[in-house]
């Protein structure tokens, strides 16, 4: 680091524009991330995203570990929504190794993925409301999510990083009676939804501040590579679960939620709709799990001496943030030769954010970032 220079303000030419560092140590920023904005008054005329605060070199350290060891590593790539990470890694390995996942395990994975989606959306919902000063929503959203974390804990033993989905299936079967408890929780969530609706979507503050904030059109979103709820908020019905289906998603009945506004409000509406759809999917998974029995994992070789055949695979998953990609190359050894993670927010947390911020006001930076649901750890990896 170079020596910090503090110029004497008296020697500087008068200027209308000034730079402001937004983050990383800032309550409005999502996670550990930073945006440098150039302001004229309180309007942003240029924004530069600055990441890397959460860089851990995942792709490198995964090359250093066995195929099984990496199962424990991958969920940490995206903290608020870790299950799609496990799923993508497991599926890429299955694609290379030609493993068959038993039907029951597939349904369990769908269950986990959708529960995780609910959690992530509740979290974003709370965070987004907090950025415009509505702290009650944050308290409610986070607490509701916590009840789902209890379910995760019961199934997997951990609240956040479950390390549950393994190549070839899941680690162990569901505990007794958990399906009933999930159902009860879903009912509770549904009872809560009208309250969230009142508190957020029918709130004059939200409608005023979120309408038209960070708007993008469908053409722009497609050209910029936006995926997930942010793309659907512009009216494009694209969803990896439908277009490039994995697991048992072809048998699942759900709607792709779209909105046409393309702004912060539309993005939150899409998330709300997705929570409703996720509840629907979870119910179907519960019904299926009541019928489908059998093993939850296929036979694997000794995990400590497990050489995957040479090859490569690109697995895509619809996470709560968008399209998540895992590209894995194996050279036939006990460790991956190369893992590349396409973080679901790598587009909308960097290039798209930089574009959307231009022309908006300084007080909307946090809101735009949260409404895009940017997840810095998966950008930095």
């Amino acid at each position: 680091m170079t020596t910090p220079q503090v110029p004497d303000p008296a020697t500087l030419a008068p200027s209308e524009e000034y730079d402001l560092y937004f983050g990383p140590n800032h309550p409005g920023i999502e996670g550990n991330y930073s945006v440098r904005v150039r302001l004229k008054g309180d309007v942003i005329c240029q924004a530069v995203a600055d990441g890397g605060y959460l860089h851990r070199g995942f792709e490198k350290i995964m090359e250093d570990r066995l195929w099984v060891q990496n199962i424990a590593l991958v969920p940490r790539i995206c903290v608020p929504d870790p299950v799609p990470m496990e799923e993508s890694y497991a599926r890429a390995v299955e694609m290379i190794g030609g493993l068959e996942v038993p039907l029951r395990a597939q349904w369990i994975r769908v269950l986990m993925l959708e529960l995780s989606r609910i959690c992530a959306h509740l979290f974003t919902f709370g965070g987004n409301a907090a950025t415009i000063g509505l702290y009650t929503n944050m308290f409610w959203g986070v607490t509701m999510r916590d009840l789902f974390l209890d379910i995760f804990e019961e199934i997997t033993g951990a609240r956040i990083y479950h390390i549950y989905i393994t190549p070839g299936g899941v680690r162990r079967d569901l505990p007794e009676g958990v399906l009933e408890r999930i159902e009860a929780l879903l009912v509770e969530l549904e009872e809560r939804m009208p309250q969230f609706e009142d508190l957020f979507f029918n709130n004059a503050v939200v409608i005023d501040r979120a309408t038209g904030t960070g708007r993008m059109s469908a053409e722009e979103a497609l050209a910029w590579g936006v995926t997930g709820p942010n793309l659907r908020a512009t009216g494009v019905a694209s969803d990896v679960r439908r277009d490039d289906p994995y697991l048992v998603y072809p048998q699942v009945d759900f709607d792709i939620v779209t909105e046409t506004g393309g702004d912060a409000l539309a993005r939150m509406m899409v998330r709300k709709g997705e929570v409703v759809q996720a509840v629907k999917i979870v119910r179907q998974a519960i019904a299926a799990l009541r019928k489908v029995g059998g093993p939850v994992r296929c036979e694997l070789p000794n995990p400590l001496a497990w050489d995957l055949p040479a090859g490569d695979a690109y697995a895509r998953t619809e996470s709560s943030k968008g399209e998540l990609g895992f590209y894995i190359v194996s050279n036939g050894g006990p460790r991956p030769y190369r893992v590349h993670v396409r973080g679901a927010s790598s587009m909308h947390a960097v290039q798209v954010l930089e574009k959307l911020l231009v022309g908006s006001r300084i007080e909307d930076v946090a809101q735009i970032m949260f409404s895009l649901d940017a997840c810095p750890p998966e950008v930095d990896r």
């Binding site: 990441g51 860089h55 910029w224 694209s238 490039d244 990609g325 290039q351």
Partner: protein, 175 residues
């Protein structure tokens, strides 16, 4: 699994291309470095491969090559085409496809700082993640992260002297 006829038609228009199906809704295409921009352009214009999902880089150090993999997805055809090119590891220079797919800017910048591949014409080759890093591009195979860690950091001493003292007297935490 086979390659859809429409895709085959387009691929046949370009020289020196090998394509083969690689699983459900996946096609692998190997192309010479100079042919890639034209291929992406054709796929985008004719078959709707407008979504660049990712660009991955693989360091094949024994062959002295970098492999760049462009994953493009077509919302129309519901198909993922992975275009593989191999470029020489030294000097590691290639062209940017930012003018065809805007997301390429992010991935090229990432590959530049992790592997040191330079992309001509890219909008930005500045560091994004590793601004505090002065070593070699860390994702290259010849950079050994374990060795680097051993040289740079110190570990907690799990058996400090006072514990050894206690152990000598017959105590300690290990039975």
């Amino acid at each position: 699994m086979s390659i859809p006829a429409r895709l085959n038609e387009v691929l046949n228009e370009l020289p020196a291309i090998q394509a083969r199906p690689a699983g459900a809704r996946r096609v692998r295409v190997d192309v010479a470095p100079q042919g890639l921009p034209a291929l992406l352009e054709l796929l985008k214009g004719r078959l709707g491969f407008i979504h660049l999902s990712a660009i991955s880089c693989v360091d094949w150090i024994e062959d002295g090559q970098f492999e760049l993999v462009y994953h493009v997805w077509s919302h129309e055809m519901k198909l993922l085409v992975s275009c593989h090119v191999r470029i020489a590891r030294e000097p590691g220079v290639y062209v940017s496809v930012h003018d065809i797919h805007e997301p390429a800017g992010f991935f090229e910048r990432d590959i530049h700082e992790m592997f040191g591949v330079h992309f001509d014409g890219a909008p930005s080759m500045e560091k994004f993640i590793l601004t505090s890093w002065e070593g070699p591009p860390p994702m290259r195979k010849d950079f050994n992260t374990r060795k680097h860690v051993e040289e740079t950091f110190e570990w907690v001493d799990y058996r400090p002297d006072w514990l050894k003292d206690i152990e000598r007297k017959g105590g300690g935490i290990e039975s």
